[in-house]
Subunit: 136 residues, 2 copies
């Protein structure tokens, strides 16, 4: 994801306004490796800006996602998570503490797939389940 400053320019260039709410969320997500849910981010944001709406968090994060600045990840735990890392990477999920971490998989683009039957693959997402170092 771009820096808050770059995002400000990108938003304006797209005819979108840059509000204090959005700037706060830019800052909270920039370099964030926690893979927060909308709700977690809302809590964080509320500390610095009491009264901010959960709706606004969803809105802004959705905007960022559709601009390709962040990725939505669904680890099947109820709520979607947001990941500012848009590199070609994948995720490990700790079954105990729910922690999500980025990992890089060699040759993930060149997997040998049987049964495709004419299906054209656009993207691949790999999810590893297990236990993190702390919970093991």
């Amino acid at each position: 994801m771009k820096s808050p400053t770059e995002l400000t320019e990108a938003f304006r260039a797209n005819g979108l306004k840059v509000t204090p709410q959005r700037q706060l969320l830019f800052r909270l997500m920039h370099g964030n490796t926690m893979h927060p849910t909308a709700d977690a981010l809302f809590s964080e944001a509320s500390v610095q800006m009491p009264g901010i709406s959960l709706r606004t968090v969803y809105q802004t994060l959705t905007d960022l996602a559709s601009m390709g600045e962040l990725r939505l990840i669904d680890v099947g735990a109820g709520a979607v998570r947001f990941d500012p890392n848009v590199d070609d990477h994948h995720h490990v999920v700790c079954q105990t503490c729910g922690d999500v971490r980025d990992v890089y998989v060699a040759d993930s683009q060149n997997l040998s797939i049987d049964g495709l039957d004419g299906f054209a693959v656009d993207s691949t997402s790999i999810l590893f389940h297990g236990s993190c170092a702390r919970c093991a």
Copy 2:
């Protein structure tokens, strides 16, 4: 997933009762390659047994899943899907029609992962997104 007859025995052996509702669901899921949602299965079941409860569908499918007879798959489309194929396999999802199909990935157990950092991987699920032959 085992055959309806085998499941009947397995349920009894576990102290679970075999009701007509469960038998119907055994039959509907056996060899089913449609990856139905609970709701889709409920509709199908309702044809043969009007009055069956959606709650019962969820209950029975959850029981089957915890007995290892079927797998829950979440393609991030809102509702969980049920897959009676418990082999080591993965899924492709058509972004257009939503269709889900089983595929087999060579060496999916031996991916070279960077950034694990002490994380112990138990299971891997790979999701391929793209367009199926019909929608392309």
